[in-house]
Symmetry: C2
Subunit: 224 residues, 2 copies
């Protein structure tokens, strides 16, 4: 029954060419403006053929989402395997994460929804100046008198914002999943928040009151 084999092979070829073309479109024109019709034109098939391979447009994007996480995961594993010590592994994985994101911008943006028009304008918002000022003020006031020379409050501000935004967006993405309304491993995301804040403060000021000394505010905060 080589006929069915050939048919399957042809179907797979079409599927692959859909994904190839889609990726090419995403890379060249950005994932904003990629359409079923453009793919159909490029692969020289009619539009409904695409729907016989993928349920809808999102299913195609989801395919790249999946592959992106596979690639990222592999990149981290590779970085880790090259390092003997756990601490250097962490450092290597952090760098690998960064490198993956900027060497595969299209994947990363697809994975986390970056690149939307409103995003582009964020850096030109005037209120950002207040935002930065408010935070940097406290950072500057917190650094002990005899601090080492290479202390850069702007750098610390960026760290702080990054940590907060990462925390929020990762928790916001997984909202709406039915099984994950309860904390997946027995702790609330707010505990991660406290942990992150605590790490940040400890990184600037050596001695700081730990949140464990004030558990009411650390754990029993209103749950959204």
């Amino acid at each position: 029954m080589g006929i069915l084999d050939r048919k399957q092979r042809q179907k797979d070829e079409v599927r692959a060419s859909i994904l190839d073309t889609a990726w090419q479109l995403i890379v060249t024109e950005g994932w904003q403006s990629f359409s079923i019709r453009k793919i159909a034109d490029a692969i020289e098939y009619s539009v409904p053929v695409i729907y016989s391979h993928f349920e809808n447009k999102d299913a195609i994007l989801l395919e790249f989402n999946r592959k992106g996480f596979q690639l990222l995961s592999a990149a981290l594993a590779r970085a880790k395997s090259g390092e003997p010590e756990p601490a250097s592994q962490i450092r290597a994985m952090g760098r690998a994460y960064w490198d993956f994101a900027f060497e595969n911008k299209e994947y990363y943006q697809l994975m986390f929804g970056l690149g939307i028009p409103t995003c582009e304008a964020v850096s030109r918002i005037p209120a950002l100046a207040n935002f930065a000022e408010t935070i940097i003020g406290s950072i500057n006031a917190m650094v002990p008198a005899g601090q080492q020379p290479p202390f850069d409050p702007w750098l610390k501000y960026q760290s702080f914002w990054s940590m907060l935004h990462g925390l929020v967006s990762i928790n916001m993405i997984r909202i709406g999943q039915p099984e994950q309304t309860e904390p997946p491993h027995g702790h609330l995301p707010q505990q991660v928040l406290e942990d992150v804040i605590c790490s940040f403060i400890r990184g600037i000021q050596a001695t700081v009151p730990t949140p464990a000394a004030d558990p009411s505010s650390a754990i029993n905060r209103p749950d959204n």
Copy 2:
């Protein structure tokens, strides 16, 4: 010349009703499915009237983007003003940031492009398990033998991922701005990365080789 005043007043009213309706649509149906035509229907004007107040659809979204940052900035300033010490100010601002994001999900998603369909599916990606495993492995191996009881590697993993993702996405958003291809305050984003990684490691393991001891890998990394 009260006539011109009245005209201006009426124009402002229309503009306000456009924004009101747009926001209502965003809150009820999500910002994905909000359209010029729906606004026009709701305010009982024809479509081109909207284009006489806003250049295009993105300009309306940008308006909320701006307002969102103003609100966030104000919330942080409020949180800060209630605290005497710098460290507690940082903590309060961190919590205020979190609270703002989840009490104003629509604003936050609009500001940072969350809520796109592919985002929703992230938590169901199988490769995420490998991803988490790889990182948690190193975290577990790094924690010193006599660690305090409340050490949760899953929590640390979430902190780590959040920091990295926040760092990447904030740097990715401001890319393409012509004046910001050079570092805005004399340091590369990679330095922030090293700072964040270093803080994280120090938060787990007290003694860790600082990146300053190995500046070649910390600063002179290939620039994208």
